[in-house]
Amino acid sequence: MSAEDLGILWLTVRVAAIATLVNLPIGVAMGWALSRSRGPVRTLAETILSLPLVLPPTAVGLLLLTTLRRNGPLGRVLESAGIEILFTARAVVIASAVMSLPFLVRFARTAFEEVDPRLLAMARTLGDSQSAAFRRVALPLAWRGIAAGTLLAFSRALGEFGATILVAGNIPGRTQTLALAIFQRSHIGQDDAAMRLVAVTVVLAFAAVLATEILTSRRAHRTDAKEADLS
């Protein structure tokens, strides 16, 4: 791997990690709120939150671009605050965060839904406030699912392409992540160089998905062990 390759890898991992860290509290809060709510509001919220999963990433990218550009609704505020977003690494973070949030929310929601609400009620009768019960019971019981969702969201952020290229461009050394570099190199005929990066992405994705699998299947093992104990 060349120094350039390493630079691309470092940028990609850093940007995906920041996007995931930003998403973590948001995703956990949204997953918790969704798991405790019912009715049409929840259904609507679920649907909107899932849109990034099904929309073409370029469509999401264009929507973000419209929002963030200088005369867009958010762009004006950002410009007056002197914050530059578009075509910087920050834009890559935002695009990856938006595209990967649904994974985190869905996993967190499912994990919280598996926590018996009666256990939370029990914690209350034992002296815990609502937030203490969340911290001491809901979170520790759901952490496996949340961790799996976080890893999956991180993997998704690593490979984000469509939305990123619209809001961040493909600027080597600045916004060029692995996915963008592979596209550019194969476009200009540097297939071997592109293939090196493909190998890197395969290793990264393999590690992340394997870790997710281990986290989600450990749970099943524990249930088996429990049944074996009692028989």
Binding site: A121, M122, L126, D128, A225
Partner: protein, 355 residues
């Protein structure tokens, strides 16, 4: 003293309970009569409940000054049927969950000893038995030093043998810790063994309230709860036995004198509870002669009732209301009707000691 005046709308009826309770109280009633909802209301887990709840003068809920303590500030310990231990914490961490900073240092150790959970402390809830889980749940609730304990069929999920092993722990907790409690159960024996007072709920209303054996007797005669086996449950005192006493003992209950199996341990002082299955009582129209059974009681038929489960006869004998189960043919042959004089014959060994 627990003062209740609560209302809670439920899907099929409104729970309305107005009562003043003290000590150990059995909460009886058929499934779906509002027993669990009552406990959850007291624990503060039913936001739609209205009215007043106070325990020893402390208001947990009172609509008029607008008091509504959240569950964590009520000081009410809750032990549900399925224990609900925290699966991610070992037994010690479960018991310590509600231990307050100000709790006496030896409280944890005391609870571990009373409930004999020392060997389980490092194990997780999924690796201990149902009976052990109940003991841990009880210790966990007591660790908060509650002013009131709510027990929701804590033994219902256990089989008979286990039940008999857990019951002594409950009695020990009652006697050693002395915290007042509400005990929901379907089982007459359990109710008689742990509680002094009982309330009977039907469709969310208190239909009976009084000494536990009286309420149980009334339930038996009215067959209130078809799911429950309401045996003849008698609370009373065993006569101290002299030297070389045989295999039987004398038991006094409600003014009646009965011959029962001698307890295996030294004659237990204080209140003892026995039960007799309605099938184990013989009815005859004339005085039984030359029978081996130790108890021959003269009495009068109070009521006769037939349903799909058989014929049930209520007999008042030796001041005790008895429930007897007969076949239809036997009932016709004896021509039993309210007011008829009858003899009841019960073997000493038909009496089973509950506590």
């Amino acid at each position: 003293m627990i003062r209740l005046d609560v209302r809670l709308p439920l899907p099929r009826f409104t729970l309305r309970v107005e009562a003043e309770l003290a000590g150990g109280i059995a909460v009886l009633g058929p499934s779906g009569s509002g027993k669990t909802s009552l406990l959850e209301t007291i624990a503060g887990l039913r936001p739609r409940a209205r009215g007043r709840i106070s325990v020893d003068g402390v208001a947990l809920m009172d609509d008029t000054p607008g008091i509504r303590l959240p569950p964590e500030r009520r000081g009410v310990g809750y032990v549900p049927q399925d224990a609900l231990l925290f699966p991610h914490r070992d037994v010690a961490a479960n018991v310590r969950f509600g231990l307050k900073g100000g709790a006496p240092a030896q409280l944890f150790q005391e609870l571990v000893e009373i409930l004999e959970i020392g060997p389980l402390l490092r194990r997780f809830p999924n690796a201990i038995s149902g009976g052990e889980r109940q003991r841990v749940a009880l210790a966990r609730a007591l660790a908060t030093q509650p002013r009131l304990l709510l027990l929701d069929e804590p033994l219902a999920a256990l089989d008979v043998e286990l039940k008999e092993r857990i019951l002594p722990y409950l009695l020990r907790v009652r006697d050693a810790v002395g915290v007042p409690f509400l005990y929901v159960t379907h089982n007459a024996g359990e109710a008689a063994a742990v509680a002094e007072e009982a309330i009977l709920l039907r469709r969310g209303e208190v239909v009976r309230h009084g000494p536990v054996d009286r309420v149980l007797a009334a339930m038996a005669s009215e067959r209130v709860d078809p799911a429950a086996r309401y045996e003849n449950v008698l609370a009373g005192v065993l006569e101290p036995r002299g030297e070389g006493a045989g295999e039987t003992a004398v038991f006094h209950s409600n003014g009646g004198r009965l011959i029962v199996p001698a307890p295996s341990d030294a004659a237990p002082p204080g209140r003892t509870v026995f039960s007799v299955a309605p099938e184990d009582i013989l009815v005859s129209a004339t005085a039984p002669e030359g029978v081996s059974a130790r108890n021959r009681l003269f009495g009068r038929v109070v009521a006769v009732r037939e349903d799909e489960t058989g014929t049930w006869v209520r007999v008042e004998a030796e001041g005790i209301p008895w429930t007897v189960r007969l076949t239809r043919a036997a009932e016709h042959e004896l021509a039993l009707a309210p007011g008829a004089q009858v003899w009841l014959t019960i073997k000493a060994h038909s009496f089973r000691r509950i506590s």
